[in-house]
């Protein structure tokens, strides 16, 4: 779920950079407080690669297919590291493959970064007591949050000459098309965290 280049006004794109910059600065300041910030870099990079690869892979959901976002998974597994990881992944996708957008990198960083932090918050608050429920909510909730932010940016960014009712219908169709992804990511994060809790609990901060 990326905003492509050329869709939104340049003022909104610049505001997106300012927002993402502030979010990244906050995340980096939290990371610097860790005893050894560089120790988590290999895992963050590996998950960034998985995020990168998985967003290029389609999961068959009849009658079509959907692309995984994995913002919830990144949030649960990386915490504050998810923000720089997502920004790096989006930048590499834009410059190496032309996916997403370079001018919209800041907005896309907010579309995926804020839901990742929401998933981190859900897992932190409920991961110990109700791990399955927390995993499901983190996976699905991140997609719902990303959809809401995406829809907000599109409504703000489309030309004023277009009539609002058509925009709303198009967005409703877009959101409906992503309902399977909400469920799919919830199931994927649930199963994945169950496996990791059993076999590699050190990979989860609150396993």
């Amino acid at each position: 779920m990326h905003l492509p280049d050329g869709l939104v006004p340049v003022e909104l794109a610049l505001a997106g950079y300012a927002g993402s910059g502030a979010l990244a600065a906050m995340a980096l300041s939290r990371i610097k407080r860790l005893p050894d910030p560089s120790a988590a870099i290999p895992r963050a990079a590996m998950l960034t690669t998985v995020f990168f690869a998985a967003s290029l892979v389609a999961v068959p959901v009849p009658p079509a297919s959907v692309h995984l976002m994995l913002a919830g998974l990144l949030g649960v597994m990386l915490g504050w590291f998810a923000v720089p990881a997502i920004l790096v992944g989006l930048f590499l996708q834009a410059v190496l493959f032309g996916h997403g957008g370079l001018t919209t990198l800041g907005l896309n960083g907010l579309i995926l970064g804020l839901p990742a932090l929401l998933a981190f918050g859900i897992w932190r608050a409920a991961g110990r007591r109700w791990p399955d429920m927390a995993a499901l909510c983190a996976g699905s909730g991140a997609v719902v949050a990303a959809l809401a932010i995406f829809a907000g940016f599109v409504l703000l960014g489309l030309p004023v000459a277009l009539d609002a009712s058509a925009e709303r219908v198009a967005l409703q169709l877009f959101v409906l098309a992503h309902v399977p992804l909400v469920m799919a990511e919830g199931v994927i994060v649930l199963v994945l965290l169950r496996v990791l809790r059993r076999t590699a609990p050190q990979m989860l901060a609150h396993a």
Partner: protein
């Protein structure tokens, strides 16, 4: 390899990144259809000058499909002034103009980005990011992500092949299988990533990125200044035409 050496980029990655960002924002600011040919001309010249036009055109496929989607769908759903009737379907003027503008800007920005940055090696790209002030932690993340890409892609491909050979299910029922596949790849890649990171640090990784960025050459300055002038001209054209 000799072919690559002959085509080694003469311009620094830092200058290329600065130019790409400047031109991309200038292109994005264009509000007039009359300015689109100028954008396509700049993008076309960049693609030809890159020396690899076919590779770039292949990588443009995704953006081209998206652009076609905007150009075809918006005239059908958005607007009030009817431009033409195709049987029972009306084409609206506002949607057609917005679709053409969005598609035109999108294609020009993606083509120009790929053309200017495709000759740059991944390490140079990361060093260029660092030179533009991107924090070291993010530069490290970018470099390791590129380093692990082949590793993780191979893991995922092996796991997917194994699943297919075992006759895995499809559709909704395959979701838990996809999650298991991802979990297995993550666990294997985690161990390997830590070994790679340790080996990279032992070989002195970090010194290159931590060193102050080299000063821009006269050629870099000429490139950045020329592209800056072009970006200003595009902004002026896009707002006044």
């Amino acid at each position: 390899m000799p072919e690559r050496a002959r085509r080694a980029p003469a311009l620094s990655a830092r200058a290329r990144l600065a130019v790409v960002f400047g031109l991309a924002f200038a292109f994005a600011s264009v509000q007039s259809l009359a300015a689109l040919p100028a954008l396509w001309l700049i993008a076309g010249v960049s693609v030809l000058a890159s020396g690899r036009p076919w590779q770039i055109l292949v990588r443009l496929r995704g953006a081209a499909v998206l652009a076609a989607g905007f150009a075809l769908v918006l005239p059908l759903i958005a607007g009030e002034v009817v431009l033409a009737h195709l049987g029972p379907i009306a084409l609206y003027q506002e949607g057609a103009l917005a679709g053409a503008l969005i598609a035109g800007r999108l294609l020009a920005i993606v083509a120009m980005t790929l053309a200017i940055l495709s000759p740059v090696a991944p390490f140079d790209l990361v060093a260029g990011m660092r030179g533009l002030g991107v924090p070291t932690l993010m530069a490290d993340l970018a470099l390791l992500t590129l380093r692990y890409m082949d590793e993780v892609a191979a893991q995922l491909a092996r796991a997917r092949l194994a699943r297919r050979l075992r006759g895995g299910t499809t559709g909704w029922r395959a979701l838990p299988d996809h999650a298991l596949l991802l979990a297995t790849s993550l666990i294997r890649a985690q161990a390997r990533s830590e070994q790679l990171w340790a080996a990279m640090r032992l070989r002195g990784y970090g010194a290159g990125l931590a060193a102050p960025a080299a000063t821009l050459s006269a050629r870099d300055w000429a490139f950045v200044t020329g592209a800056g002038g072009l970006a200003l001209a595009v902004i002026w054209m896009g707002r006044s035409l």
